[in-house]
Symmetry: C2
């Protein structure tokens, strides 16, 4: 598949490499395609990845991934052209972390709404699935910590889109995938990241994730 | 030790039995000490448990546990007499679930404050530790699900009080205890319960908890 990734930080690059390793072709969209670290990334994926504007990436992808800073996400999907998302699977990996009052971060939306719902409202034609936001970037593509597999929890309104995400996750090694239901369940996934930050801080270890026991 | 438990529902009764089974003496405080299920509970603990008003239980306990409905917690500690909490370890097992808009529940406080912080402000002399709120009542006293031990995460401002809670937890079988830091980390623990409700709902199974992988 052709995958467009909006956001060129660690999450965007790591997911980009993950898709390439599984046979997909990736275009990373960024505000500044000339950034030197993206040239490094592009060499690392050996012709299977390209870099362009947000709109380039959104036009290119059959699957789109929102992987930018949460506070910029609404602006980024606007710059990418909302029409480019129509009918497509859109994986929302963003977080609502609010660093404006220092550390540890708060959340700029929670409880009665979520960033995922905001994006779905901005992109009414997108088949949006919240996924990946609850684990650190390296774990997204190598789902193992201390010999255990974390649980990937997803949410979204489109059942077929969630099935497609689940099949990507299983191909990437996610043996425990949990569909929480409609997109409003993303509130819980975004709020979990508030706790994740506290857990990582108290363990002084960012290689942290959660497993659901049931 | 003498343990006073504020709240006579499933959580209060289950924790009461847990303390009795580990050699403590328990008084459950309730609005209505004549409730027939409390007579049943009292018989079940064979002389090691008693029932009284909130103030009776708060005066009795060297350790106090707030185990009532979250929406009633501030009123309950007021009725129990804030002076009765001074200098004591107070375990806060409450949740901020808001059922006023139907199911699934929301949270009546989150992100920038927590019920634990509200209670600590009401009880400035209490050595309050958030604990137990992230698992179902039976798991609090039997920490095992599907052959694994969940992680019990705690938070509070008093290090010695947290050490005391940790030693209770270890005696009860909690092999994985994580101190998240000051009481404001309880925000993360209370927000986790929003997710817990969605996970339990999607699995149609309330015997659910989380394990931290690190």
């Amino acid at each position: 598949m052709r995958v467009g990734i909006l956001g060129s930080g660690v999450v965007g690059q790591t997911l980009g490499t993950g898709f390439v390793e599984h046979g997909d072709e990736v275009r990373i969209g960024t505000r500044n395609p000339a950034k030197s670290e993206l040239a490094v990334w592009q060499r690392s994926v050996r012709g299977k990845g390209s870099v362009g504007s947000f709109a380039d990436a959104a036009g290119f992808g059959e699957i789109l991934v929102v992987a930018c800073l949460g506070s910029a996400a609404e602006e980024v999907v606007g710059a990418a052209g909302p029409k480019n998302f129509d009918g497509k699977l859109v994986i929302d990996a963003t977080n609502a972390l609010d660093f404006s009052r220092g550390l540890p971060p708060g959340l700029f939306v929670a409880v009665t709404d979520s960033l995922a719902e905001r994006l779905q409202r901005r992109l009414p034609g997108a088949r949006l699935v919240k996924c990946f936001n609850i684990v650190p970037a390296p774990v997204m593509v190598r789902p193992s910590i201390a010999g255990s597999t974390p649980t990937m929890m997803i949410a979204g309104n489109d059942g077929a889109a969630k099935k497609q995400v689940e099949s990507i996750l299983r191909a990437w090694g996610w043996t425990d995938v949990l569909d929480l239901g409609a997109i409003d369940a993303a509130r819980g996934l975004e709020m979990l990241v508030y706790l994740w930050v506290r857990v990582a801080g108290s363990l002084r270890n960012f290689n942290v994730a959660f497993r659901v026991l049931a």
